[in-house]
Point group: C2
């Protein structure tokens, strides 16, 4: 077995041996390499930990490190006999999954920002991993029709702009986001909390298959067969945040997994967006909280999401072009003269000057300019508004 293959196999074993986000394991693998760290653990759980050998790799680190590793070793010892790398590899092959590790071209380098909490390996179905431009759309399972519509619309528009949509494959906002990307024939990435051989939730099984077979991917940091437990859901959220360039929460209750994903992204200094909704909707309370707390920026359409996630300058959202009322954007003096012109009857230049608070010359000049703009016209010896000029109501 080559060194690279040994590393891959060791990382796959680590992903089965410890719970996601185990930072003691992460530190050990960083210090010693996945293979040597695993060999050291295997020796330690059957005999006595060889602290001298560890020190040669990782520095002594003192009593605290030794105590933390000792505690971790006792946990790993419990599960070690149940980990079977061959069995996991067979199960992966059975569903067409492969193991992707750091250094592979498809490894999402954003995951490295997680430091010692980075996953050891990813179990991957599909080719669509590590798109340069990807954005996470996350939110509540118990979403409203409004949230679902916004999630689909955002995902469609993002996919059309060439962005990959990342989400967690759950019911509600997650599913709407994946579905929108697929509708627009874009690529979507599903990050699962359990094994990639388990369609979870079962109702989204077809959606997950579609993601795999349309240039996207379904990934997990735990091996095939692993159950999607609640603590793994919470850990999974950090992968979504670290994989995507930005995270947008579409709908979320006051406390929610989506909000936790947003906080993960914020800690990684990734841009975070939140879609506002009616204040009367509990499904938007988490989004509004993120806005209030300054964790998230308010985003209302795909252009604003792209501005958030994209390159500074190149991806700025445009202000909507709006048809203004006649006379919008006039200078204050012109505005005052226009205000002094009646809708009916006609008013002399002198009278306009008195009412507008201008000199006679200013009133005369401004009336001429306003006439050129089609906002006023002459009647007899006076001036009157053109028919379509409106007073504020």
């Amino acid at each position: 077995m080559s060194t690279a293959e040994a590393d891959r196999r060791a990382r796959a074993t680590w992903s089965a041996l410890v719970e996601p986000g185990d930072e003691v394991a992460g530190a050990l693998v960083q210090a010693c390499g996945a293979h040597d760290a695993l060999a050291w653990v295997d020796a330690a759980v059957t005999g006595r930990p060889d602290w001298a050998a560890l020190g040669a790799h990782a520095g002594t680190g003192g009593e605290v490190v030794r105590r933390r590793v000792s505690t971790a070793l006792r946990r790993w010892a419990v599960r070690r006999p149940h980990v079977d790398a061959d069995r996991d590899a067979d199960a992966a092959a059975h569903v067409g999954a492969r193991v992707v590790v750091p250094g592979d071209p498809q490894w999402p380098t954003g995951l490295d920002d997680l430091g010692t909490a980075a996953p050891f390996a990813l179990w991957v179905r599909g080719d669509g991993l590590h798109r340069r431009r990807s954005v996470a759309l996350v939110g509540a399972r118990a979403c409203t029709g409004y949230g679902e519509r916004v999630a689909v619309d955002l995902a469609v528009d993002l996919a059309r702009r060439g962005w990959q949509v990342v989400s967690g494959g759950a019911y509600g906002i997650d599913a709407a986001a994946h579905r929108g990307a697929l509708v627009a024939e874009g690529s979507t990435l599903v990050v699962l909390a359990g094994g990639v051989d388990r369609a979870y939730p079962v109702g989204n099984a077809r959606l997950l298959e579609e993601a795999v077979h349309t240039g996207g991917a379904v990934i997990s940091e735990v091996p095939p067969g692993a159950a999607p437990t609640r603590s793994r859901f919470l850990q999974r959220n950090r992968l979504i945040a670290a994989t995507a360039r930005a995270t947008v929460v579409v709908e979320a209750a006051w406390r929610s997994g989506a909000a936790s994903t947003a906080h993960h992204a914020a800690r990684l200094l990734r841009p975070v967006g939140a879609v506002p909704g009616p204040v009367t909707s509990a499904a938007s309370a988490g989004c509004h909280r993120l806005l209030r707390d300054g964790v998230a920026v308010c985003v209302t359409d795909a252009a604003e999401v792209v501005e958030l996630a994209g390159d500074v300058g190149a991806d700025a959202a445009q202000a909507p072009t709006q048809v203004g009322a006649p006379g919008d954007g006039l200078a204050p003096l012109a505005r005052r003269v226009l205000d002094a012109v009646p809708r009916r009857g006609g008013r002399t230049v002198d009278d306009v000057a008195v009412r507008g608070g201008t000199t006679h010359a200013e009133a005369r000049d401004m009336l001429g300019l306003l006439e050129l703009d089609g906002l006023v016209r002459r009647v007899g010896g006076g001036w009157v508004l053109e028919a379509d000029e409106q007073r504020p109501g």
Copy 2:
């Protein structure tokens, strides 16, 4: 006439002579006092400006000041013959209005922050001016049912908490805000763009009367009879912003008067809030823009408005108390143990340790604690979840 009365009369005259926000007039009045400034102008518009006399009051200021005052004088000269302080006083008396000037106990001292753009005087109907705790609720005339409901609800709740609701008396959000305050038997302040003798818009005439007769007030910086022109609407917004301790925009289009009020408040370093709404609603686009631009803080209920406008610390909004799911807030280790306990069938401590990634001792101890919390129970030789513990869905 006492000096105070002369000042009051001169300020009332200034309010008729110049357009709102005339900073040349404001600077002149600040430098010379309202009465002397008016006397100087009266002499100047009939003869030649006495620059030496002005210099004695205001310093020479050089050529630029002289040029600006000269231009302004030509404007004031046009309107001066049409200003009649007695006629305005009679018209005010006719509708029970009085003139309030700086130094009066009822003068809203917040207006002084406007500097040379501060109003010279206020024409006031009703006693409810200058409440210490007042907040402006502003928004679109063309509001939605959602915006109207939110405005009424906020105003009711703010009034019940003893806050005065300030707004512009227009249709839509303004009217809803005033109405909500009145419904809750609170005080409301209407800031008009035209004279206080003119109910504008006419459809809100009864609302304005109610505001006057229920401990609130209707105010304006222009004298009775003055028309509510568009430029005066724009200037009026600065009064709303400067009178209230904070300004909250409930609904506003992308460009709108309400947004201009918010910007005025921001420039005065007053707190600004915006109520979010559906991103699919054009009536909320201005609010979302204020949030995106960082001009406004997201507010969703009266408690958050009070936190924004109130005293730091004393008025902080409470986080909603929410009934969590069983097991919320567990430490990670307990969470993992709980996750490893099945819903049916029972699982041994050893098996729970393997699945949860814990030592045998940790699993045993945590199961005991979880049992005390009523989350798990013993069955035969193993452990099972209590019926109401749910898996994430």
